[in-house]
């Protein structure tokens, strides 16, 4: 019987000779990732175990990206705990200080996550790396401690749902719009426990950045992973960065799927998710008049150079609306440097935007852009739950970089066609 990409990766990473959907198997982990919020609990569990054993220190990655630059004393203490642990145990993949990037933008760039890998991360958006043809899934801190100690994780073998995007992409539509459209269709638990395998000519036409955006939000449909087959574009990106071998898998023609869906991109306009769930999506033409106080362009979803180029193209020579706070956070130092070299940082600053360091800060209401009671934000991030970016009486709307940039100029949710 044929196998999916997900099943092939699991098979290559487990000692269990035969398994079927629903079985719980032990899987060898290629990368175990945590951040400054989740690593402290993992370290606490590691210490509590008194096993003092690290299966393979080269596979452990810590990125201090959530409450950094340290937002308060408690956050500083959490970072210090992770830093001290990394030093004590010779964890070389510690990203701290000026090496910090938003983790899921940083790891692909550093060649730490590769096609064919089985990756776990104590961060729900670990599913981002599915866009590289890897099986990547979010877990908790205790799972991470277990992986640090044993090199393994337990996983219930998932079934796979297939989503195919055909037709031509409409103006200003990117990966964010396609994945919001999908989530709007199946709901925030529409992919619960499943792998989403996403393909089709429209997806093949996207660059890796836009594909990473799509896989990033698989968790917003409840899914275990969001996998896109690694192709020549993936290989070209990875070849320059990889320091170890990798495998490009594809699903067999007779692989088993629990469902198939096809979306015609001719019908997909730029999308906006309304509060307070990512499934509350509308096409831009159906948004109506929504005034906003803040725009955030950044995050593991849409903080890459390709996103910043789109935003700068729209904002160049224009001014951010009066009373609007537009916050641009390049997701990694490499992206920041590229944006500087391409003149994008100047465009943002001259338009009246704030440019900040790589951090997850505002996305989760941590710091660097907290909302007051009654305020509304439009963000290229991935969640719009109650209180996500600040006060419980504030609201977050989600979109891609084009809508975000246009809306920063008008002060209300707008199409780029209004300002260009």
């Amino acid at each position: 019987m044929g196998m999916t990409i997900a099943e092939k990766i699991l098979q290559a990473h487990t000692d269990t000779p035969e398994f079927k959907q629903g079985d719980i198997i032990r899987v060898n982990v290629d990368v175990a990732l945590a951040n400054d919020i989740t690593a402290p609990i993992a370290i606490h569990e590691f210490n509590k175990s008194a096993l003092d054993r690290i299966a393979d220190r080269s596979k452990v990655v810590f990125v201090l990206d959530h409450f950094t630059p340290n937002k308060d004393i408690a956050s500083a203490n959490q970072c210090k705990m992770v830093r001290d642990f990394a030093h004590e145990h010779d964890i070389v993949n510690l990203f701290d200080g000026g090496e910090v990037g938003v983790e899921h933008a940083l790891l692909p760039e550093k060649g730490l996550v590769l096609p064919g890998d089985f990756i776990i991360g104590a961060d729900s958006h670990t599913c981002t790396y599915g866009a590289m043809g890897a099986f990547a899934t979010g877990v908790g801190s205790t799972d991470l401690a277990a992986a640090i100690i044993t090199g393994q994780a337990w996983i219930k073998v998932p079934s796979t749902m297939k989503f195919t995007f055909v037709g031509e992409l409409q103006p200003w539509v990117g990966g964010k719009d396609l994945i919001l459209y999908l989530i709007g269709d199946i709901g925030v638990d529409g992919g619960l426990y499943h792998v989403l395998e996403i393909d089709g000519p429209a997806v093949s036409s996207l660059d890796l950045s836009n594909r990473l955006t799509m896989s990033n939000m698989a968790i917003e449909a409840g899914a275990k992973a969001g996998i896109i087959r690694a192709d020549d574009k993936t290989d070209a990106y990875v070849r320059l960065r990889a320091k170890r071998p990798y495998t490009l898998y594809e699903s067999d023609p007779d692989a088993q799927y629990v469902s198939f869906k096809e979306y015609d991109c001719a019908n997909i306009e730029p999308q906006v998710a309304f509060p307070h769930l990512p499934e509350n999506t509308r096409g831009i033409s159906e948004v109506g008049e929504v005034r906003i106080d803040q725009v955030v362009i950044g995050s593991c979803t849409n903080g890459r150079i390709e996103d910043l180029r789109i935003a700068a193209e729209i904002m160049k020579g224009n001014r951010v609306a009066r009373g609007m706070r537009c916050i641009v956070l390049p997701a990694t130092p490499e992206i920041f440097i590229a944006a500087e070299n391409e003149g994008l940082i100047k465009v943002f600053l001259e338009s009246g935007a704030i440019v900040g360091p790589p951090t997850c800060g505002p996305c989760l209401g941590g710091h660097m852009g907290i909302l007051a009671r009654g305020e509304k934000a439009l963000a290229t991030t991935n969640r719009n739950f109650v209180g996500r970016m600040g006060d419980t009486q504030s609201e977050v709307y989600l979109c891609g970089p084009a809508i975000a940039a246009a809306s920063a100029l008008t002060g209300r949710i707008s199409s780029p066609q209004e300002v260009m």
């Binding site: 719980i24 032990r26 919020i37 989740t38 402290p40 609990i41 606490h44 569990e45 509590k48 175990s49 008194a50 096993l51 959530h66 409450f67 937002k71 308060d72 408690a74 956050s75 959490q78 991360g121 104590a122 961060d123 729900s124 670990t126 979010g138 877990v139 908790g140 801190s141 205790t142 799972d143 401690a145 277990a146 100690i149 044993t150 393994q152 994780a153 337990w154 219930k156 925030v188 638990d189 619960l192 426990y193 968790i219 409840g222 275990k224 769930l277 989760l364 209401g365 941590g366 969640r383 739950f385 109650v386 209180g387 996500r388 419980t392």
Partner: protein, 164 residues
């Protein structure tokens, strides 16, 4: 083991930001986290909850972040177990890994009311609503997860067996 307490009822898609808002994640101390458990869904929850009480919710409980602070905050608040129609997958595995008992039952989730006194038999999965007299049976827990519970969580399981 029998859990007994009064019910706090919540709806569908209760996310981890509602269970423990990110603004409190600059600590992982259970005693601090419990002060803010469920705060953004019910601001009075931390002051009202009594030891043994039970959370009953709709579908996709615990969706969103991977933060283990969520089950830690719930457990530290005194809640004995959570019953939902379904759980988001990371919350589900976190609960077994760190030792918060959770049970899935569509019927119980739909019929049990706020404030009902209920009793849950962890070994049989039987949920009894003492207030209404009705009984429900939770979906069976896979043998591997039963081992995790018996061993006292994933790390203790590794200590005992030498592997996951």
């Amino acid at each position: 083991m029998i859990f007994k307490g009064n019910v706090f009822l919540f709806g569908d898609d209760i996310d981890t930001d509602a269970i423990i808002p990110a603004r409190y994640l600059n600590t992982s101390d259970p005693d601090e986290l419990k002060m803010h458990a469920m705060e953004d869904a019910d601001p009075e929850f931390p002051s009202k909850v009594q030891k043994g009480d039970v959370i009953v919710a709709g579908k996709n409980f615990g969706c969103g972040s991977s933060r283990e602070h969520a089950p830690i905050a719930i457990k530290a608040s005194g809640v004995s177990c959570v019953i939902a129609s379904s759980f988001a997958r990371i919350f589900f595995r976190n609960s077994f890994n760190m030792g918060l008992p959770i049970f899935e039952s569509d019927e119980a989730s739909k019929e049990i009311r706020e404030g009902d006194e209920i009793e849950v038999d962890a070994s049989s999965g039987e949920i009894r609503d003492i207030t209404t007299g009705k009984s429900y049976v939770a979906r069976p827990i896979p043998p591997f997860m039963q081992d995790l519970i018996a061993d006292g969580g994933l790390i203790e399981h590794i200590r005992k067996t030498g592997k996951i």
